[in-house]
Amino acid sequence: MSDTWRLIDMRVEDAYTQMGIDEAIAYARRRGETPNTVRLYRWSPSAVSVGYFQSIENEVDLDACSRLGVDVIRRITGGGAVFHDYDGEITYSLVAPDDDPKIPRDIISSYRLICGCVIKGLERLGLDSEFKPINDIVAGGRKISGNAQTRRYGAVLQHGTVLVDCDPRKIFTVLKVSGTKISDKMIKAAEERVTNVRRELGRDVSFEEARDALVSGFEETLDVRLEPGELTAYEAELMEKFREKYRSHEWVFRR
């Protein structure tokens, strides 16, 4: 019989709340009160997240973000900058104790496993993709998902983005691309490197359909049943605290 994990399903929140929830769940694992959890979510307003080690001024066009009402946040995970477009992206996160029998100790192996959940989900939609170490998923050689992991509080936290649709012009507006003007050539080059679910399948896949496929992908790959649930009161309280950190200038401009 397969284990039951908690599913926190398609919450739409701002960047600070989403990152606060991910960290709160990881933190709460210490108390052992919180079940292993998979979340699927979307960001509203749309936001740019940068990796823990990135220089925000070098990665993000802060003026463009403020003009467009796009939030800017720093993650606790490493990796690269991501544009979380409300109209084009689903984020997932997974939290489990770092000694969970299902999660490999080796970090790349655990990326491979957890990315495998997304790959299985995409397969449900009829889309072939593969894990590309260190932390990407590619379809037809083009990136369709970026992932990032941390291990802290005795937990593994991995979150990642699944591109359902994407507009390279929007991405180049909010992310810095070495000071050059956005050209058709750049857009074309980006389209060579990055793809998305709708483009690959050539049809208008809804967020609901993508969500259903991802849920199955996680269940099947991890051999668990995902049961819809909510944050515990303890997690909700922690989230408020972490959210303040993520909102603070000190944190966002830390590096």
């Binding site: 220089s55 070098n58 490493g78 260190i134 941390t150 802290r152």
Partner: protein, 96 residues
């Protein structure tokens, strides 16, 4: 104060790293390392930057300091190795 400002280096088969380092009298006075790599625990990066202050800018001293830092702690680096940090810091210092 010597230093070229922020210099980037793409680790072959790995991640993009950048360093912004300054030296005075042949010793590092400030260094910031950024990029899209992974380091567990993440906060070790600030500790690393702090530990490099005062280190002579020559390759051997910097290598020794870097190896000493990583050798004495349980830190996992992904997409980058300690020698890549040495390399990009030396680039940023304008060293040949």
């Amino acid at each position: 104060m010597n230093g070229l400002g922020r210099v980037e280096f793409k680790v072959p088969g790995g991640k993009l790293i950048a360093a912004e380092a300054e030296a005075e009298g042949g010793r590092i006075v400030r260094v910031k390392i950024t990029g899209d790599f992974f380091m567990h625990p993440e906060e070790a990066i600030e500790e690393l930057e702090g530990s490099l202050t005062g280190v002579p800018v020559d390759e051997r001293s910097l290598e020794e300091a870097m190896n000493g830092f990583f050798g004495s702690r349980s830190i996992e680096l992904i997409g980058v190795a300690p020698r890549d940090f040495v390399h990009v810091i030396r680039m940023s210092l304008g060293s040949p």
